[in-house]
Amino acid sequence: MTSDPASAQWRTIDGHPPSLLEYCREIHKYREVAYVLIRRDLIVRFRQTYFGLAWLLFKPLMLMAVMSFAFGFLAGFEKSHAAPYPLIIFCGVIPWYFFSNAVPDSMNSLLGHMHIIQKTYFPRAIFPIAAVVSDAIEFFVAWLLFALGCLWFGYLPGWQIVFFPLFCLQLIVLCTAIGLWLSVVNVQFRDIGNLVPFLLMIGFFVTPAGYTSIRIPEQWQMVYALNPLVGVIEGLRWSLLNGMDGFPRTPVILSLATTLAMGLIAVRHFLAVETDLVDLA
């Protein structure tokens, strides 16, 4: 398939940061690398395991059981909800689980692949993006369990379910933005790699994963909702659990704003240092 070089276009290598449009074209051109990386991540995760792909459902099932027990039974949060408690928990724990995997996975993706980055070129953003997507696949499969749960409890989601994909999309965008940004920051300042696990631990408590945000006192609601996951998770609950507690307008708007801001910071910073990555490492 050799093209005739005489008719091929000149490409200039001068070390200038690419524009966003150019960069997106490059990513599209090398998209097959992303496919293989995602496939590799998923294969490696389940190869040499006895249960193989069944882990995709075991993990969320165990999470839901543990969290329902801890928050519903031990902490006594179970009362005062219309929808079945395990389903409420599921809508919080599964997005949190995805977030808390995707952020460190993508954050470490550039450092972890430095041996490749030093030897060949394709757009470096493919590594963090592929890391998020392979976690997102697990995330989506987990919702099968939610469907089973609905059958089990005889529960039928309402029309609001049409918004489900939008909240999922926002969550993926959020993880990608944070992951892109942290992945380059982690190359420059490796302190981040030590810091993030602690931040995630704190994050778990300020995210309505094991509880719902009605538990937060009225005067703190705005500050609380600055955590973009609040809007996403309450939005998911609203869309899947028949508009439970009404539409969470303030958290959703705040969350969209923080997600957008995060995305802008991430893209700007990433593009600025992308060509210099090997020299920075």
Partner: protein
Amino acid sequence: MSDIVIDIVNLSKRYSLSHQRRPDSLKAWLRGLAKRGTSGDANHSAEEEFWALKDISLQVRQGECLALIGKNGSGKSTLLKILSRVIPPTSGQIRVRGRVASLLEVGTGFHPELTGRENVFLNGAMLGCPEREIRRRFDAIVDFSGVERFLDTPVKHYSSGMYVRLAYAVAAHVDADILVVDEVLAVGDAEFQRKCLAHMRQLASQQRTCVLVSHNIETIKQLATNVARLDSGAIAEAATVGSDLLDRYALPQ
């Protein structure tokens, strides 16, 4: 002039030698900020500079095979890395025409847990070769590597020879207009090396352009059409392979 496919213009690459100054932790960076606040930009002058490449200009025509020679640290690999877009130049530019495939190392991105077959596709994609192309050449790749019996075995169980042969086979079958090769031809046993050389010559006969780094004068004599000798980041001499440059270089000094 229309057959030029690589045009290097005033290319330079600078490295800063002051490793302690480079902020590789947040603390160092903060300390640097504080220092800059009190003493201006004084610590910039303390940085020692090293020019890995200094004002290189060079052109390669279609179908040529350019061999870069020179002592360790003369800038050969830096030039190949810039050409492969792994690192950016500090100033100047390279213009290229056509698809570039870089072979700076054999088996870039090979994953130990994946089978030989899976790694062929992974490695192929990283070298910029679409999956359907790899699929079409799959038999040729396997044939070339001679590991067909172990194709569905994870490469962590391969011997180092098998590993390298499979990796080279993929790289050899990635169809590119311009091939950038860094000292990777010296892999496998004597028989496999003969196979590699024959393959490279065949590519040359198909008007593919090639830029390679090698310390092996015999390899260069067999493959290259042109030779450039680098010294301290600059081109000291450039000539055709038939000239006495190589012979003088091969002589112990």
